[in-house]
Symmetry: C2
Subunit: 264 residues, 2 copies
């Protein structure tokens, strides 16, 4: 069965290095497609040209809001092909205007080097999903169609009435609502799907546009829930840095991410 995520991020080739996609309105935050959703068709195009399976590092500049329920054109080309990493750049446009520009480094998660050292960050402890709060019940000050596609269950200890003395950090579970399992290509989506943590201190602040998002995919996620830890430790002149860690159902760190966002 095709998941909603696969169906709604599907791309169709039109020429060498060119694809079309249809941007759904079902992944909106307010009037705009969620950034992590909008970048996924571009990431699929990047994967096609890269010749390596896994996006190891994905940087996206969000140039203009995406247009929901409308077609998109994608161009992708190799910047440099390599044995360990191939760098690809991608542009996704709608109505003739570029909406996002991506540079992604593809390689193989399973390939290793001579160094076999492994260390990592353990997941936080948090209540079971059924004892957490569904994001759909939280007030962000904006209508969120995305809640119908992604399920987010927030540890109640990390959320509550806005409090300027609270650390801006949210811990919770996430998965697709349709029960489909996470994939390597879905991790950048999940890295941008949590509510902005600034609202735990500042209250409902509406849409917090992402200017730039960089995601590092670290492992292939196991089926089941993901655990996300999202925090913002740096707000200045309306610009914020938000950092994300994602673990899979085995407790393995599968992605790290960071974004530059705007408080408007």
């Amino acid at each position: 069965m095709t998941s909603f995520f696969e169906a709604d991020t599907n791309i169709t080739p039109t020429a060498s290095g060119r694809w079309t996609a249809h941007i759904s309105a079902d992944w909106n935050i307010g009037e705009n497609p969620n950034g992590g959703y909008l970048l996924t068709p571009a990431l699929r195009a990047a994967q096609h040209v890269a010749g390596h399976p896994d996006p190891l590092t994905v940087t996206t500049h969000f140039l203009r809001p995406g247009v929901p329920d409308a077609p998109a054109e994608i161009t992708a080309e190799i910047v440099k092909a390599g044995r360990t990493l191939t760098s690809v750049q991608v542009t996704l446009s709608q109505d003739g205007a570029p909406r996002l520009h991506m540079i992604a480094g593809f390689g193989s998660i399973d390939a290793t080097t001579a160094h076999d050292a492994t260390w990592s960050v353990p997941p936080p402890t948090l209540p079971a999903p059924e004892d957490c709060l569904d994001r759909a019940e939280l007030t962000q000050g904006i209508s969120i169609a995305l809640n119908g596609r992604s399920e987010i269950r927030v540890d109640p200890a990390t959320i509550g009435p806005p409090d300027p003395d609270r650390p801006a950090e949210i811990v919770g579970w996430t998965r697709f609502r349709d029960g489909s399992d996470p994939s390597v290509l879905a991790l950048p989506f999940f890295a941008d799907a949590f509510p902005p943590t600034v609202f735990t201190r500042l209250g409902p602040i509406g849409w917090v546009p992402t200017l730039e998002l960089t995601v590092h995919v670290r492992r292939r996620p196991a089926p089941g829930w993901l655990i996300c830890q999202v925090w913002c430790d740096d707000v200045f002149h309306g610009k914020m840095i938000e950092t994300v860690r994602i673990w899979d159902s085995r407790g393995e760190l599968v992605a790290q991410a960071r974004q530059l966002g705007l408080l408007i």
Copy 2:
């Protein structure tokens, strides 16, 4: 007086959107120019085309090692011009082959939005520079010309004989050896100048090539020493994520950065 950093990262226009530079051997790690040094001429070209003064987010993919004591050609073009952020892409080539590809978002650090909330991370406490260890006295298993250009003084408590149980984290002071003050354009350099923290656990491991580096510039640095905190919490299959915070002499957080590096 022109600093070594300015002189050795100077660019000369040759046509619209094109520059040349001369890559010095004085900023080498072993046989290769330090990545943070090599990206700086590209960053200068980006600033020229951006029409905004400050690099707010800078992502560089390092495609091939740079060639020391050799010319470089740089091309830069606007991806999207904006009032808050202008995205620029840059390629630096030597011997006809691209060495690095950058996407940078330029804006104004001094511009603010309607939101005036400010929060930040305080600097770590560490001994005075004269009570710290000069990086030139540390063994990284490689010859480091860079030590003649950048001074790094490491808190001795964060360094010592390699110990697999030690957190891979180094705290220290840094500045240019010639006494010139840090600038906004120098912060990406400083974000890549510390020794790789993995060596505190794994011992001297030589060159750790950076595949991708993303730097967020948060404030204009005051004159004087910078404080850096560098840590690696994630090594898997020879690929590591290293994170950096930089504070200026006032104790203000001036940059955050993260890189994907390779243990070869």
